[in-house]
């Protein structure tokens, strides 16, 4: 990590992961009004399932990827059914769903470490190509792939929300759940679908990032935090904001680590969070919402 280019590459790579997690937060929040505490642990599930199927049992990479993503979607749908829906329907307010999703996140972390062991696992590389060297800096295909996928998913989601009927329906829900329901939008079904999509996205980012970050039951909450910082910096639930916020947080973190050392990476992310909350609580692209009470 001596040269600036290397720092930028590192920042873009982790930024891509944060952007994907931020996108998954936003997809779920938009449709359900819930910020899912388990989002980082769904990413973790993607790394662990991938490490099992692809690393241990040697499945073909695409099959393992598909299975991880499907499993992430399933887990999130189960979470919606088991934890979120009951909390919302019992009218406990925000405390209810925060407690419920936190409980689910903890169950995921403990469950994976009991079933697959608490230790970090190496994850074999997905693309067997030698790393590239550019101007004294090194990067791998996995890094390029992550950045591309983050940008691609962001673009597709942006188009989806802007151009499709389903996207409009989801936008309507994000705006006003009751009004949307009154106009015949199946709010409850779309909320569960959004959870599944958010879970799939988190697991996808976990699987793709695993060759770089490894697979471990404990890595969830760190990504939950960094991804949330990215989403908040971009302005929840703005799709472009999430991508922008993700890369911004990644680059700032990489710079901070370069200056202060790797042990302060959380401190840098935390600093970004406090700065965003102090200076621009609505996020970079967020409009200051009409505070209606």
């Amino acid at each position: 990590m001596q040269n600036v280019l290397q720092v930028i590459i590192a920042g873009l790579t982790s930024g891509a992961i944060y952007a994907l997690v931020a996108l998954s937060y936003n997809v779920i929040f938009g449709a359900s009004g819930v910020l899912n505490f388990a989002q980082g642990n769904l990413l973790m599930a993607g790394t662990m399932v991938g490490a099992g199927l692809y690393g241990q049992y040697r499945w073909p990479v695409l099959a393992a990827l598909a299975a991880s993503v499907a499993f992430g979607a399933l887990l999130a749908a189960v979470e919606e059914w088991l934890a979120v829906r009951p909390a919302l329907s019992r009218g406990q307010g925000a405390v209810g769903w925060v407690v419920a999703t936190l409980g689910f996140a903890i169950v995921l972390q403990a469950g994976f470490s009991i079933v697959m062991g608490p230790d970090s696992r190496a994850f074999p590389s997905i693309v067997n190509e030698a790393p590239h060297h550019v101007g004294g800096a090194v990067f791998s295909y996995e890094q390029v792939m992550l950045v591309t996928v983050a940008l691609g998913v962001g673009f597709v989601l942006d188009q989806f929300y802007r151009r499709t009927r389903l996207g409009w329906a989801l936008t309507a829900i994000a705006h006003d759940q009751e009004a949307a329901a009154m106009r015949g939008i199946p709010v409850a079904r779309l909320a569960r679908a959004a959870f599944a999509l958010g879970g799939a996205l988190a697991a996808l980012s976990g699987f793709l990032a695993a060759p770089l970050i490894g697979a471990a039951p404990t890595l969830g909450f760190g990504y939950a935090l960094a991804g949330f910082v990215a989403a908040a910096a971009g302005g929840i639930p703005d799709i472009r904001g999430a991508v922008l916020g993700g890369f911004a947080v990644g680059l700032i973190q990489a710079t901070g680590v370069w200056w202060f050392g790797a042990q302060y990476s959380n401190l840098v992310v935390f600093g970004v969070l406090i700065a965003v909350l102090s200076l621009r609580p609505q996020g970079l692209l967020g409009r200051r919402a009409v505070r209606m009470v």
């Binding site: 088991l82 469950g111 302005g235 401190l267 609580p281 967020g286 009409v290 209606m292 009470v293």
Partner: protein, 664 residues
Amino acid sequence: MKASNTERLTPVGVGWRSWLMQGVLVALLALGPERLARVISLVTSTVTFPLTREISVAGNRYEVFNLELLMVYLIAVIGLNLLMQVGLLSVGHTAPFAVGAYFVGIATVKYHWPFYGALAAAAAVTGVLGLALGIPSLRLGIFTFAMVTLGYAMVAMDLANGWQSLTGGGEGLAGVTLPKPFDTPNTFYWLLALVLAATYVVARNYIRSPLGRAAAAVSANPVAAQSVGINVHVPKLRAFALASAFAGVAGGLYAALLGFIAPDSFTLDLAVLLVLMVLLGGGGTIAGPIVGAIILFRIPLAAAKVTSQPGQWSLLIYGAVLLASVHFFPRGIMSGWAALRRWLPHEKAAERLERRRPEVRGMLERVSLELPSVLEVSGISKNLSGVQALRSIDLSLAPGTIHALIGPNGSGKTTLLNIMSGYLEPDTGDVRLLGQDVRHWPVHRRARLGLARTFQTPYTFEDATCRDNVLVALDLHRRYDAVSNVLRLPPAFREERRQYKRALTLLEAVGLGNEFTTPAGQLAPGERRLLELARVLALEPKVVLMDEPVAGLTSHEIDEFEGAIRALRDAGIAVLLVEHHVDFVLRLADTVTVMDFGKVIARGDPEKVRVDPAVLSAYLGQPEESLPDELELPVGATAVEDELEAPFRNAEAPAEEPETSSSP
């Protein structure tokens, strides 16, 4: 009746029940380390019996240590409870705990500070850190706050690991000693007992004081809390600072108890365990966290006996209990009492109705104002997500008059009310209250200046008693500060007694005297309106804005309300009445303003407005025809009515992260 009144008027926390509970606690602590360790180990190991198949009744070193560890946790948990009382969740309460532990450890070992000085400084440092983090993060919702606490815990651990020269890094910091004269394991117990008792008393007094009432109000209904003059950020900030300081003290005692601290001691499991202890017992109750802590305390120890991965198994249990709590005991097991009482036979609302005779006339101090208008808006326009809700509205309320605001659904009446009371800011125009420009003032400041309002659906603090619902508003005029209230200094305590009397008088005035200790959530809809009225009277307002005060009331209740509103006017208060019940309005109002599509279409005395062609056409779509005596709204109005109410619903909506949310 007299005797029961005296008892009812004794401020909570000094009645015989409360003395009994405190007597039991003192007696338990007075048992001393070995005997209490026997009791506690028996109780806690009974809970974990299904896991470990063993029950421990021992007063040995090991169990005394366990007891002392439990007491340390209790100090932190009692603090955390204050945070959860205001409706917040800290997922990283290990952070202030660790900061306190390291602070005391480093100060005593490396800089040879005296232990007690270091402990006090640790409380101050963690409290100030709590304030510093709370200020930016508490403006947003509970999730953002939970994330900030999670980050706080991660950063604290990184620093503990990384700043080796100070903290000893991963190897930890050894050599923290027990302070004299409590320097053996058995005598250290007495220091813990002392601190724990002090913590308990402070927390109990806090919860029962105006501060605790405000905190509970903010948690139960932030919109209504603002309307009685509470700045919703202040109780949150106060609670986080207090909770952090308590955790800091607990951490300092922990460092001494263990003699050694390392980053491994402050894991996620511990943070979750602390939260769960409060949640299981019931956040915001006084006994809840103690019960929760005793039940859960031994689970990590039990897990360590039966598996090789104790941390993971106890985490799994915590996660499962968290999930179960949402389903089965959202308010903790101590709320079982309240649920039980609801099942016991009690007087039904309908029976109570018979006895009610509201008479508020004598309650009101005469307000005399020299101003021509108390509240005045001019040129108000407001666009609500693309809909022009208000176009250049002027309205002025004179003291001692009733001004009615009527108009078809969707005409912008509630929006105007929201702008007047401060829930919405107008795009253009001025709002003047008692001659002051209050356009940018938040709700609570306007309330303190003398603006009160009621809501379309009555907003009460459901879990709180009728008494507390009124006290929250009476607290606005309290003279004594927070510290003397929490310490229960005699003048503050006498004031509390006076406030209780005043609350009872007000509740009697609106006819709810017998519901003094009934939770507001158990009242019938009409009674909630009366409770809201009592709360408004408690504010001693100069202006009262009422949003459909008689919607959903029976004709008998409407008559009761009519008298109350007249009494407000006769006391010199300016009343604005938004109402659909036209008959009622025309009977009461001195001036009527009619709105349609965000514009004023008519204004004048009731008789003039009654026959105004523009009004007739707006209401009936049939110009040039006189109004029938009993004017009813067109059928199908309810759907639109819902939309009118929608802005208020957002306040209670599950997704409460309004500041970061926006529509793409």
